[in-house]
Amino acid sequence: MTGIHNQQDDERLRGLFREAMPPVADDGFSDRVLRRIGQRKRIRRAVLYLAGGLGLAIGARPATDLLMAAGDWMTASLGQSAVLAVDRFEPMIVVVVLGLLSPFLVSLLED
């Protein structure tokens, strides 16, 4: 008996909810959501590039020092010619390496 009652209740309640909850018209809602997502994507990307640039600026000096230390180590183990090669191209190497790495790092952060 309770089962039948419950089934009848359920049917009536479903009817009540159906009547009271007609489909909600979109009225530009979806477009607003997509616009907001687009804005967030743009802001996030800008912040990441800014942070990447800042990181590059901050990291350039320690990276140069690291390279010089590597040069010293190479002097000790390989001789003077290797050091001359590193010294000549040192700033360019740092910029190129960091420049090549930054888009990769930014896209990694973006994901």
């Binding site: 009848q8 209740d9 479903r14 809602f29």
Partner: protein, 196 residues
């Protein structure tokens, strides 16, 4: 400028897929059109449900928008187990709970300063509320948990297991909420339930 034929083709492909296919496309290709189709498909249910829970149209739409934005951010975490709509409802329900907590904190702060509370969102009869009076009366007689569970079960057609997943309640609790809500409706509104 995108080629209109290519754009139409892209849209028609987006419209034809299942929810899971659209999610896969949105995640792997970062396809905004696929996600747009998901939003169009489910906005009515999400907004309808949140309107019933909050009883405030404007707040419900804000929460629905937040739900879809969050869905986009977390889309890759949708495992494909269970229906997409129930995953989406879980996000919507969390947004609702969060807004309720904020509203409570706000009213507590207002009370502390001894000011009269003037902006409680979840009050029946506030501007923008236009529900069928029968349903409003029925829902007003229920506790918040019972109301949530009833809306998900009878309005959205979610299964008990899905409701449990959305609300974080064990299935037994979901069932007992439905049972209690039914009883309360039957007691208060015998003409609604027909269960005399």
């Amino acid at each position: 400028m995108e080629d209109p034929i290519a754009k139409n083709l892209k849209l028609s492909t987006a419209e034809s897929g299942s929810d899971e296919e659209l999610v896969a496309r949105a995640v792997s290709l970062q396809d905004g059109d696929a996600f747009g189709e998901l939003v169009r498909r489910h906005q009515s249910r999400v907004r309808g449900c949140l309107r019933q829970l909050t009883r405030d149209f404007a707040l419900a739409d804000d929460l629905a928008q937040e739900t879809f934005v969050r869905a986009w951010d977390k889309l890759s975490s949708f495992s494909g187990q269970g229906r997409f709509v129930s995953w989406l409802m879980k996000l919507a329900y969390n947004e609702f709970l969060q807004s309720r907590r904020k509203a409570k904190r706000y009213s507590a702060a207002v009370d502390r300063f001894g000011t009269e509370q003037t902006a409680v969102h979840n009050q029946a009869g506030s501007a923008g509320v236009a529900f069928s009076s029968d349903l409003e009366v029925v829902l007003a007689a229920l506790s918040e948990e019972e109301r949530s569970v009833m809306v998900m079960s009878f309005a959205l057609g979610l299964s008990h297991a899905e409701i449990g997943d959305v609300t974080g309640m064990p299935i037994g609790t979901v069932k007992s909420h439905i049972h209690r809500a039914r009883q309360r409706i039957r007691e208060k509104f015998p003409e609604e339930s027909g269960g005399k």
